[in-house]
Each structure stands twice: as structure tokens, then as C-alpha cells.
């Protein structure tokens, strides 16, 4: 029996040393040491049948053999572990340059992305967002912002009028708003100062469509009404807005004229195309006009039911379309209405 044990030991140790992975080791363990039918276990189970003097000797030897096999298993396991650790780079190399598996990839429109920035910026200054009608009356679009029917300024805001067919509406009474300023009176009539309001939205003007003009475009209009609002508040707010939206730019103010503001101020930024050296885009000025603003005209306040002796305010309007064009360096305004994903997936 001792010889049998010795053969088992030699056989087991030889097998163990040859094994290269843990599963095989486990199989060998079961083969020899398995609870019910391990080769060694079966031999050990027969020991009680031996003569008493043999029992002790064989029993001790069997235990030694068992221990030796167990140790060999452990050693081999440790060895394999060590080898694996040493070889992991070689064995488990993958090509990390293979392109990733992406989740579905969508795209938000450049105008949405630009508007998101405008809105988060205006919220920081305490502005609330308001939205109003695009189909508007001549009254709110023009008259209430101090642009009476005979104002020559109307020439620059040629309007699309809605066909009054089948209604009681007079021709020329209802139009598509030409600017977001229609919301100044609407909001002021219904809300009391202090007001800090930002109105983004679509506007429409009759125009010859080309690379820099379109009949539909987006604006945002900010206005503030309170006691003691001054021109320096306007300059400071506009300066902050532009420098946040167009990082690194410089801002300059020019006097101008708008019917709905007095005084009226235009903001210019350093040309983003030439950096101020002068180019065709900025008409060699190095500066380009980006925003119109001013102190809300006392007539506009009065038309909306505010007392201009108590309240003053400022308003500024900027083309969201224009801003998106500057940011993304679009060479044609019509790209913003493109339906082609080859254009839109770039953003």
C-alpha cells in the first residue's frame, strides 16, 4: 500500500507541475483529494482495514503524501499567479486605438446651444425669460414702441402682413413681428417694476435673401425697468453680456438712433474675423456692430402705463442668429435653417 501511495504521490506531483491554469489544478485536486472518490481518498479509506501496526505507519505516510500534494497544489497555484502577473501585459493586450462603441449620437442646433448660453448668462444677472406672440398687431410691434405709421425707421423693418381674408381684421393690422421689442409693452402693461426680462424669439422681415440676410431670424431682447436705472447700467450690462458671450472681445459704444430708446447706443466688438486689423467683413473698421440698445424712450414707458418720472429703464436687442454666425464662423446665414444633417451634425 505504501508503494501505491508513493506512486500516487509521484503521479500527482508530476501532473501538478505540468499544469498551466487554475481550473486544471482544481481538477487534479478533485482527482486525488476529492471527498468521495479522490484517488488518495480511496486509498486512505482502506487504511482502517490494515493490521494495527501497519495502520499507524501507513496512516502517517498517507497524511504526508496528502500534505505534499496539497502543498504542491498551493505552490503551483502561487507560481501560476506570479506568472500571470508577470505576463499580463503580453497576455491581455488590446488595441486601444480601435474606435469606441458609442451610444446613439444626437446633435443640438447651434441656435439652441447659443441660446442656452445667453439664458444662463442672463439668469446670473437676475433676468427672467418671457415669450410672446410672433403673430402681432401693428400696435405692439410698432406704435407702442414709438414707431408711428409715418416713422421713416419703419423702412428698415419691412413687415410681412397677414392676409385678413374671412376675418374682421383690417389689412395691415396684423403682421409677423419684426423684432422682439413687441414684448416690451406687453410685459410692462402686466407686470410691475422692478423688471429684468429677457425675450428670445423668432422675428421676420421682408428682405432679399442672401448669405447675410434672411426673412426669418432670431433675436433676444433684454430690458430692465426700475427706479434709478441709468445709462451706465446699460453700458455695464451690455459690456458684461458681450464679453461673456464672445470671450476675449473688446467692446465699444457708438451713439445712434432708435425710435424706442433715448439716448440710443450701438455696441461694437473687435472684429472676430480679422482681430481688428480691418477686413471686408468689418468694412475695414476693425470693429463690427453687434447690438442695439438704449434708455427706454419715455413715450414707450408711458404707452405701457409706466410713469417715466418715476421709472427709467434700458433695453438691448441682439441677433441670436448673428451671434451664432460669429461663434461658429458660418459663412451663410441660411445654414441655420438647413435641414441637412451633414451641416448640423458638426455642432
Amino acid at each position: 500500500m505504501q508503494e501505491k501511495l508513493l506512486n500516487l504521490k509521484n503521479e500527482a506531483l508530476a501532473q501538478i507541475m505540468a499544469v498551466r491554469d487554475n481550473n486544471e489544478l482544481e481538477k487534479i485536486r478533485v482527482e486525488y483529494l476529492g471527498k468521495n472518490s479522490g484517488k488518495l481518498t480511496l486509498v486512505i479509506k482502506k487504511i482502517p482495514e490494515l493490521e494495527p501496526d501497519q495502520k499507524v505507519i501507513v496512516g502517517r505516510f498517507a497524511n504526508e503524501v496528502k500534505k505534499m500534494i496539497e502543498d504542491a497544489l498551493e505552490r503551483q497555484k502561487a507560481l501560476l499567479q506570479k506568472e500571470r502577473e508577470e505576463n499580463i501585459a503580453e497576455a491581455e493586450w488590446i488595441d486601444v486605438t480601435i474606435p469606441g462603441i458609442r451610444p446613439p449620437e444626437g446633435h443640438l442646433h447651434p441656435l439652441t446651444q447659443t441660446l442656452a448660453d445667453v439664458i444662463s448668462l442672463s439668469r446670473r444677472l437676475g433676468f427672467q425669460i418671457a415669450a410672446g406672440p410672433e403673430i402681432e398687431t401693428d400696435n405692439y410691434n410698432f406704435e407702442k414702441v414709438n414707431m408711428p405709421p409715418d416713422s421713416p425707421s419703419r423702412d428698415t423693418q419691412a413687415s410681412f402682413y397677414l392676409d385678413p381674408r374671412g376675418s374682421k381684421v383690417q389689412p395691415g393690422e396684423i403682421l409677423l413681428r419684426t423684432h422682439t421689442s413687441n414684448m416690451q409693452s406687453r410685459v410692462m402693461e402686466k407686470s410691475k417694476p422692478p423688471l429684468r426680462v429677457l425675450v428670445p424669439g423668432k422675428c421676420y422681415r421682408v428682405d432679399d435673401v442672401d448669405a447675410s440676410h434672411n426673412i426669418e431670424f432670431y433675436q433676444f431682447e433684454g430690458f430692465v425697468v426700475d427706479r434709478g436705472i441709468s445709462l451706465t447700467d446699460l453700458l455695464g450690462t451690455v459690456d458684461y453680456f458681450l464679453k461673456e458671450l464672445i470671450p476675449g472681445t473688446e467692446v465699444k459704444f457708438y451713439a445712434t438712433h432708435f425710435d424706442f430708446t433715448e439716448p440710443s447706443v450701438e455696441a461694437y466688438i473687435r472684429c472676430t474675423i480679422c482681430g481688428g486689423k480691418g477686413c471686408a467683413y468689418c468694412k475695414n473698421q476693425g470693429w463690427s456692430e453687434v447690438l442695439g440698445s438704449g434708455m427706454i424712450h419715455p413715450h414707450v414707458l408711458k404707452f405701457a402705463g409706466m410713469d417715466p418720472h418715476i421709472y427709467t429703464g434700458f433695453a438691448f436687442g441682439m441677433g441670436l442668429t448673428r451671434l451664432a454666425i460669429l461663434r461658429y464662423q458660418l459663412d451663410d446665414i441660411r445654414l441655420l435653417h438647413s435641414l441637412d444633417m451633414r451641416v448640423l451634425e458638426q455642432f
Binding site: G106, T112, L162, P194, P200, K283, M341
Partner: protein, 667 residues
């Protein structure tokens, strides 16, 4: 505007670039100029409120004010007029019947015995510099004086005026008129005209008539400096699509106080360059005296609105540079405004003058100091939800478009909508942009069509306004959120809607909708999202093959649309935490043979409501009529025993059998 002309009235040496920047900052934008024959020609952009800047002397006045140089007085008619302008002998007759509503002032004089010939070189050069073609000395003089002083003038051949009568009146509309440059017009209604004996001799403020124009044989002339109603001139000019230098000035408002000066200036030039003698007294028919007016503004008002510290001397200095005479008493300036500055009537107008000459780029910058408004403003709009939904769609692989609100009748017809029942633009620029879109579907179909040649997986959405209504008496502008996918991908579209609803915390059912718009939607592949009160939140539908064919789209497409205003009103429920139960759930799969036309949605509902202990139930596999449902049983308060689950299962099977004759699949 030639620089040399401006320098006749004010001397300055600063480089042109610097001058342009200074004028632009003060409101007279100069972005372009060109060097031409030793002179610099400026191209100023004059704002509509400043007609006084449409002439050389006014521009020089502005330059002098902005860069603070001295403005030379223009030849004053009383002192420098070198001719005898009193008529000799019997004044020549002219009868002017005026209408003050149309013509608030009319200044005129007759000159007899003039000789028509070419103008001298210096005059011709000036006209060419401002882009005019020299004609003859008399016509050239009127143009020259207009460009110099800003009041438009006209010269009539006196002998051609029939009956020596001039009647200012409104056109009735449709009259024929031939202008001095030989073009025929049909006059629009309400145009201001002058008639002699039955003939229209002047289309006032725009162009003179050929019948009374100066020619080589002209001997006697009537010099005419009128002021016309600007609105009338503007309307007529728009109606005819005809603008002139004169109409541009009248539209914005010619200086009613400047007619006599312009007339004398022209008269002097006529006598100098055309000879002749004065043939009548000065005719000056005017509605009122057109005297300067006063506007008061306090120093406090100026400092409050501008928020700068400026000493009263500085304010007075600025007013003086602008030829505004200011008397100060107790901190209030009483400012006399000359007639050529009709843009200055209220204190704020004067404050702007102080501000722009002080220089806005010298101002400090502040932010509004008051309380940040808390109360929700009227027309308040929550953009947060817009961006949230858009981000979800982006994450689901959708690309966003911004399409035109204006669409063609052709698109409406393809959508099966009668153009007579859509809102229409009266003055469209083309048929392509003539109607307001009543739905986003049409443009999304166009987007699909655009992208089919280049992409295999197309998912596009838009959040935009739609405009619904048959007439302007009753219409609605609403926000719609809609998307399109190529292919037969109903379940994918539905999954996206479920994702949005889950994120926004909206409970909804998505049910079959056989009754939906069959011109658009597939009759058997359309679902609606009904809401209480009969209104649908939206639709998910495979588009009808006929509709796709009309839009020239090959293959199939799935479309979904949501009433975004309604969606927003339902969203915003804050999710609340449910404690994680410590008792284990028991999960088992149940495979059922579902008979034809029995809806899986109903089966799911039936299983779910069979017991409170059914925690969730999902469809996990589907093979022909066999569907496998995974049921998760859970009692949040104790361990579930197998016997309890068996009881629930029995009830589920009984319910399914009772309602739908469904049996478990034989194993």
C-alpha cells in the same frame, strides 16, 4: 460728401480715419470713404432722425461740434447778398393756391431774363462728387444748394406755367405724369401735386414735371423752396418705388426755418451764373412762423439718467457746440432749439446730445443696483424644460433642426390641407414662403427627404411654433415637439416618448388610434396619447405610404408629435424616494399564447392589477403568438411564501382566461 466742401465751413486737420471714428462714436457713422481726384469723398450713414446731416453745411456743423472746431457762418443773405433783389418795375404775376396740410411752407421768387448754359467747372465738379449729373446752370444750382444747405429746391420755367397759377393738391389717383427726365408715371392716390390750368406740373417732393421744366429756351424762372408733409412724400415714393435726394430729405423732415436762406442762396447763384434780374417780391406762404422752440432739462436729470458727473460749464459748452442756445437758472437749462433740429423736443433728447458729445466710451460701467425681481413676470416662459427635453432627444440620437415657419401652398396640399384654411401672408417674397405652418410634419418630411441619400439611420426633431387657424379672427400659436425616423421603427419611436415621459414624471397611456388623421398616419400603426379632458397629448405613427409618396420619399418612416405646451403643464412633478425593501422579490417568467387582436398592453395591465403584490411586469420575449412576461412579486413588509405566489399566479391566470381566453403555453 467731399471733404473739401466740408472744409469750406470748418477747418480741421485730423486724419480722415480718426475723424471717421469720432463721428461714428457720436452717431454719424462713417464706415466708407474714397480718395478721388485729390479729394476725399465720405459716405456717411445718416440716421432717420437727422435730416440736417444730409447736406454739407449740416455735416460741417456736426464735425465742428464733435471735434470742437469753429463753424464758419454761412453767407448771411442780408449782409453778403451782392445783387439787388428788390424787383424793379411791376412784379411778375404768379398765383399760388396752397394747402397747408400738404405744404406747410412755400417760399419762391421769380427771376427774369436768365440765360441757360452749362455750369462752371467748380459747380459741375461738386455735383459729380455727390453722384449727380450736371444738366444746366439753373438745375445744377438747385441741386447744389440742396446739397449745401439741406432744403430741396425746384426751378420752373415761368413761361410754361399755364394761367400763372399753381394749385397744391392731392392726386386723385391714376393721373398721368411725365417727369422732367422723360418718364411716365401713373400717380398714386394722395400724392402731393401742383397743377396749373388742368395739368400736373410737379410731383411734389419727388420729381418735377417735363411740361414746366427748364430748357435751352427758358428766359424766366420761378425758384421754389417748399416744405412738404413727409409722410405723404414717403408713401408716394414707396408706392412708385421712386426715391430722390429731395424725397429722402422731405421724408425725414426738411427744415421749415431754412427756406428763405436756401432761396436767397440759390437766387444769388442764379444771378451770378445765369444773369437776369429779380422779377417778383419774395413769396413766402407759411402755416406759422417756424420759430425755434425751447426745451428745459435740469442738471440733475442729466446726471441721473447718464450717471456721470459733469460740471454745468461742460454741459453748456456741449450745447454751444451744437448751436443750442442754453440759459441756465437754478440748475435748469432752458435750451433754444433751432428749426433744423426737429429731433429735439423732450429732455431726454437733450440728454442724449450731452451724452454722445461727452463720449459714451468715457462713461464708467455699472450693473443695475436694485432688487432682483422675484415675482414671476407676465409671459414668463420656462426654457429649462425645453433644454431638458432636447438633451434627452440628443442622448437618444436625434439631430435638431430649425425649419422655416413660412411654407408653400404646395407643402400644404401635399399634407392634404386646403391652403384656404391656413394663415396666409399678404405680401410674401415668394410662393415658397407664403403660409404659416400648421404643423411641423411637413418640414420634418422635407428633412427626411434631404438626408435619405446620405444617411442610413435618420432621427430628426424640432421644437417650434405652429400656427393654427382659418382666419385672423381665431387662431392659435403653440409649441409643438415632433420627430421623424426612417424605416419601420414604431417601437423605437415609442421608446423615446416613454423615455421623455419617464424623465419628466408624466403618467400616460399610449393607445391604438384608428380614428386619427388617416391622410397622414398608417391606419393600423398609429397610437395616440390621450389625456383627461379629451385632448390628445400627441401621436406616434408610422406615416401613411401615400403621404410619403407625395413627398417623394421611398421607404417607410415613423413620426411622433407632442403638444409641447400641454407636455410642459404636465411635467415638473418632483420624484419622491421609495425606500428599498429588505425582503427579496420572487421573479418568475410566464409564457402565454396571446390570441389574435388581444393587446399586449391590456395583458400587462391585467397582470399588474391582479394583485398588489405584483411589483412589476415586463414583456421580455416574443415569438409569434407566444409572449413571455417576467413578473416580479414583492411584499415590502415580509418574506413572500411560495404558497402566496402560487395563489397570485392562479388569480392572474384566471383573470387572463376570463378576459381574453388566454392560456399558459403548454410546456
Amino acid at each position: 460728401m467731399p471733404l473739401s466742401w466740408l472744409k469750406e465751413f470748418t477747418e480741421f486737420k485730423i486724419p480722415i480715419g480718426e475723424l471717421a471714428v469720432k463721428l461714428s462714436e457720436a452717431g454719424l457713422t462713417i464706415e466708407k470713404w474714397e480718395e478721388k481726384e485729390g479729394d476725399t469723398i465720405l459716405d456717411p450713414e445718416v440716421t432717420p432722425n437727422r435730416p440736417d446731416l444730409l447736406c454739407a453745411y449740416g455735416t460741417a456743423r456736426e464735425i465742428a461740434a464733435v471735434i470742437n472746431t469753429k463753424l464758419k457762418a454761412h453767407s448771411d443773405e442780408k449782409k453778403t447778398f451782392s445783387h439787388d433783389y428788390k424787383t424793379r418795375g411791376i412784379p411778375m404775376e404768379i398765383k399760388i393756391i396752397n394747402n397747408f396740410a400738404l405744404c406747410p411752407r412755400c417760399t419762391a421768387i421769380i427771376v427774369k431774363g436768365v440765360v441757360v448754359k452749362p455750369s462752371p467747372d467748380w459747380l459741375q465738379k461738386r455735383l459729380k462728387q455727390v453722384g449727380l449729373r450736371p444738366i444746366n446752370n439753373l438745375v445744377d444750382i438747385t441741386n447744389y444748394v440742396m446739397w449745401e444747405l439741406g432744403n430741396p429746391l425746384h426751378v420752373f420755367d415761368y413761361d410754361k406755367i399755364r394761367g400763372k397759377k399753381m394749385v397744391v393738391e392731392e392726386a386723385r389717383g391714376g393721373e398721368d405724369f411725365r417727369s422732367l427726365d422723360g418718364i411716365n408715371y401713373k400717380l398714386p392716390k394722395d400724392a402731393i401735386i401742383i397743377k396749373d390750368l388742368g395739368r400736373v406740373i410737379d410731383l411734389c417732393g419727388i420729381k418735377g414735371g417735363e411740361n414746366t421744366a427748364v430748357s435751352q429756351t427758358t428766359r424766366n424762372i420761378l425758384l421754389h423752396v417748399p416744405i412738404y408733409n413727409g409722410t405723404r412724400v414717403r408713401r408716394t415714393s414707396q408706392a412708385l418705388g421712386l426715391r430722390s435726394d429731395a424725397s429722402a430729405i422731405f421724408e425725414r423732415g426738411a427744415d421749415p426755418g431754412g427756406t428763405v436762406k436756401a432761396l436767397y442762396r440759390a437766387l444769388q447763384l442764379v444771378l451770378d451764373l445765369g444773369g437776369g434780374t429779380v422779377g417778383s417780391d419774395l413769396i413766402d406762404i407759411k402755416k406759422d412762423e417756424f420759430r425755434p422752440w425751447t426745451v428745459s432739462v435740469s442738471h440733475e436729470q442729466i446726471e441721473n439718467l447718464l450717471c456721470i458727473k459733469i460740471d454745468p460749464q461742460g454741459v453748456k459748452e456741449i450745447f454751444k457746440r451744437l448751436e443750442l442756445e442754453a440759459l441756465e437758472a437754478n440748475g435748469v437749462y432752458e435750451v433754444t432749439v433751432p428749426t433744423f433740429r426737429n429731433d429735439l423736443h423732450i429732455p431726454e433728447d437733450l440728454i442724449e446730445e450731452v451724452g454722445r458729445l461727452y463720449g459714451y466710451n468715457r462713461f464708467p460701467k455699472t450693473l443695475p443696483a436694485g432688487v432682483v425681481p422675484i415675482e414671476k413676470v407676465a409671459y414668463s416662459y420656462d426654457t429649462g424644460l425645453d433644454f431638458r427635453v432636447k438633451e434627452i432627444l440628443k442622448g437618444a440620437g436625434f439631430g435638431e433642426i430649425y425649419s422655416y415657419s413660412l411654407i408653400s401652398a404646395d407643402q400644404l396640399v401635399k399634407l392634404g390641407i386646403d391652403p384656404r384654411e391656413a394663415l396666409k401672408i399678404q405680401n410674401p417674397i415668394s410662393h415658397e414662403y407664403e403660409y404659416l405652418r400648421p404643423d411641423l410634419l411637413g418640414n420634418l418630411l422635407e428633412a427626411l427627404k434631404t438626408n435619405l441619400p446620405n444617411f442610413t439611420d435618420i432621427k430628426v426633431f424640432e421644437l417650434g411654433r405652429i400656427y393654427q387657424g382659418r382666419s385672423l379672427d381665431k387662431y392659435e400659436e403653440r409649441y409643438q415637439l415632433a420627430g421623424i425616423l426612417n424605416g419601420e421603427r414604431f417601437s423605437e419611436a415609442k421608446g423615446i416618448i416613454e423615455l421623455i415621459f419617464n424623465d419628466l414624471g408624466i403618467d400616460s397611456q399610449i393607445l391604438p388610434a384608428e380614428e386619427a388623421n388617416n391622410a397622414w398616419f398608417h391606419p393600423a400603426r398609429t397610437a395616440k396619447i390621450p389625456m383627461p379632458k379629451e385632448k390628445n397629448l400627441g401621436y406616434i405613427a408610422e406615416l401613411h405610404p401615400n403621404l410619403l409618396t407625395k413627398f417623394g420619399i421611398k421607404g417607410r418612416a415613423v413620426y411622433w408629435e407632442l403638444d409641447f405646451d400641454l407636455l410642459k403643464s404636465l411635467a415638473g412633478k418632483v420624484k419622491t424616494y421609495q425606500p428599498i425593501t429588505k425582503y427579496p422579490a420572487i421573479i418568475e417568467d410566464l409564457t402565454l399564447a396571446i390570441p389574435d387582436k388581444v393587446l399586449v398592453g391590456d395583458v400587462l395591465d391585467t397582470i399588474k392589477i391582479s394583485s398588489k403584490l405584483v411589483n412589476t411586469v415586463k414583456l421580455i420575449a416574443s415569438h409569434e403568438e407566444n409572449k413571455t412576461f417576467r413578473i416580479n412579486y414583492l411584499n415590502p413588509t415580509k418574506n413572500l411564501a411560495d404558497a402566496e405566489v402560487a395563489k397570485i399566479r392562479a388569480k392572474i391566470l384566471a383573470n387572463l382566461k376570463g378576459e381574453f381566453q388566454i392560456k399558459p403555453k403548454e410546456k
